[in-house]
């Protein structure tokens, strides 16, 4: 048997949203799937050197991950995900990501794999995955079967995560809702230290982005009717549904995130009954500054609740 084709997944951006779907689909079809290692200082430094200075921290991290995969796999997967319908859009950056990366690494000889999800242009995720299957010579039947299996796995994983999350709300400890994109909160270099610090301070951090996408987007309208970014709508929805069950909110974003620069301002102006900490990560060395701010935020919550 031939050596299986290897697909590389950069561990950044939408990886955290789609990792189960991608893994399962490609493995079902007999590919081998590899991932870049969790973000380190080096990932960020290498990515920053490749990126336009003004690009967001998340893009710099992403390019660092792509670099780590160059030459280590047959294809690197970078989809173009534009929207899931009107007012269910993604930040423009996800429309550009594939072409942008391809241009940055033009001289590398690396092959990239892409698919296009753009419901406004009637390009569904299903059709995109059938296209991927066909590209590698699979029948629609085989690709469809792999897609269905992958979709089921994705749903199982989402349900399990949401269930686990529900349990967190029952904790007696101080609970803080973290409003952040999954690629910020789950990132080993920028999000994880925040989570770990909170856990170490006897606080339960709860991710706002873990929510049923449809329910979340619907509930989010209550807080911001014209917000059109799907991920931000989910986060807004989570705030609407859970604000009574939490003691504070941390708005965690990566400098200078376009959607967050505005949506977080709306949250700060409209959610008046909870303490809110606006934490913008810029990838600078050292965690002391962040820790000081987290510490004083926790103190404020404890003080407010008479526990200090």
């Amino acid at each position: 048997m031939d050596k299986p084709i290897t697909i590389g997944l950069p561990r950044a951006m939408l990886y955290y949203r789609y990792k189960t779907l991608w893994h399962s689909f490609f493995e079902e079809l007999g590919f081998s799937v590899i991932e870049s290692a969790p973000t380190s200082k080096l990932t960020l430094e290498e990515g920053a050197a490749l990126a336009i200075d003004e690009a967001c921290l998340s893009l710099k991290i992403f390019l660092g991950h792509v670099k780590a995969l160059i030459g280590k796999c047959d294809y690197i997967l970078i989809p173009r995900i534009s929207n899931f319908g009107i007012n269910h859009e993604m930040c423009c950056r996800f429309e550009a990501l594939y072409d942008l990366t391809r241009n940055v690494f033009r001289e590398s000889g690396q092959k990239f794999l892409t698919y296009n999800a753009d419901m406004i242009q009637k390009k569904s995720e299903w059709a995109a995955f059938m296209g991927l299957g066909q590209f590698f010579g699979f029948t629609v039947k085989a690709a469809n079967k792999a897609y269905r299996t992958a979709k089921k796995a994705e749903q199982r994983q989402q349900k399990a995560e949401q269930k686990k999350q529900e349990l967190l709300y029952r904790s007696e400890k101080i609970k803080i809702l973290i409003a952040a994109h999954s690629y910020v909160i789950c990132d080993a270099y920028i999000g994880k230290p925040v989570i770990e610090f909170l856990k170490g301070s006897d606080v339960v951090p709860i991710r706002a982005d873990v929510i049923d996408p449809e329910d979340g987007a619907k509930a989010g309208k209550e807080l911001s009717p014209t917000c059109k970014w799907q991920i931000n709508r989910e986060i807004l929805g989570s705030i609407v549904q859970n604000r009574d069950k939490t003691d504070g909110i941390i708005l965690l974003s990566a400098f200078p995130c376009g959607p967050d620069s505005m949506v977080n301002e709306i949250i700060a102006r409209r959610v008046k009954d909870l303490p809110i900490l606006n934490l913008v990560m810029d990838g600078q060395n050292g965690t002391a500054g962040v820790e000081t701010r987290l510490e004083s935020f926790i103190d404020i919550i404890r003080f407010k609740e008479g526990k200090l």
Partner: protein
Amino acid sequence: MDLHRKISFPRIARYNCAIKYIIEMGTGASYIMQPEMTKRTMEIGTKYSPDYVCTPFKSSLGSMIEALEAGADTILMTNGLCRLGYYGELQEQILRDLGYRFDFINLSEYVTGKLKDYLKAVKRIDPKVKLPRFLLALKDGLKMGEYVDNITEEYYKNCGFEVTKGEYKKAFRQFLSKMETARSRGEMDAGYQAALQTMGQIPVDKPEKPLQVGILGEFFTVMDAFSNLDLEQHLADMGVEVHRWMNVKNRMLHYSGEKNLNIKIRDLCSYEMGPTSTANIWCAREYAEQGFDGLIHVKSAGCTPEIDVMPVLQNISADYKIPVLYLTYDSQTSDVGLMTRLEAFYDMIRMRKRVL
């Protein structure tokens, strides 16, 4: 209750005359023209805006405040394909928190995928609006936008070479004031024809192969002379033929679409990378192939789609050996800094032209 609205829209390039025309000729409302943007507009806008939002948010917020100060009771705000689509909701919230009292018509609230639904917004401007009258005014107003674009193109291509200083500017100003006061298609057409004629007769001393620079970039900053610190005028004054494809006429009224523009740039990008990305990449290659001496890419600080286009422009620059100057504008950008960079860029392309 007085239902007669006094409507205003933030300042955008030279198009407010067309918006005024559509509102006043198409509905029963009147239009309040706030002053042109100044340093103060930017200062108050910046003061009340979130830190790292893109610059047009700040200037348009400032311009809204100046409209309310000028007596507007209703602010109209547009939808958009990038962050612009969310400007309205946040700007309204900020203005309300500041205590201003006004009505806010945000086109983003009417986005359903059907153009028809925008008519609901028109009904809010004037519940008694007559549709045929409104549509006619809209058509004529858009025509005015096209005239503005045609004359603007003509102006920046030639004003750097006029024999008697100031003649082009005078004709341009006359044209703009005629557009601002036009009350019919006839007056509009007459003003346009007169401007074409006057400009056609101004003596120019243009070399056979003048320095040609193509300007491209983010939709608002590239068109708005206040926001780009009069970039095009400065270049023209140095004796450059300035070209800019990006305007309302080309991007909105006669856009040939992503599908058709993409054909020429497929090797560089497979998809629409953002609202104006296809157009800008196409335009950059077009200018490069026509043998332009340089390109200037203009954007406001933090503009996501334009940052994403830059790696592609860098490749075009390498492939065609065409210099590209990248300019980012924020609320702090000064003319002195801009002039230094422009002069250096100008010297460089001039020397290259002599050598090549």
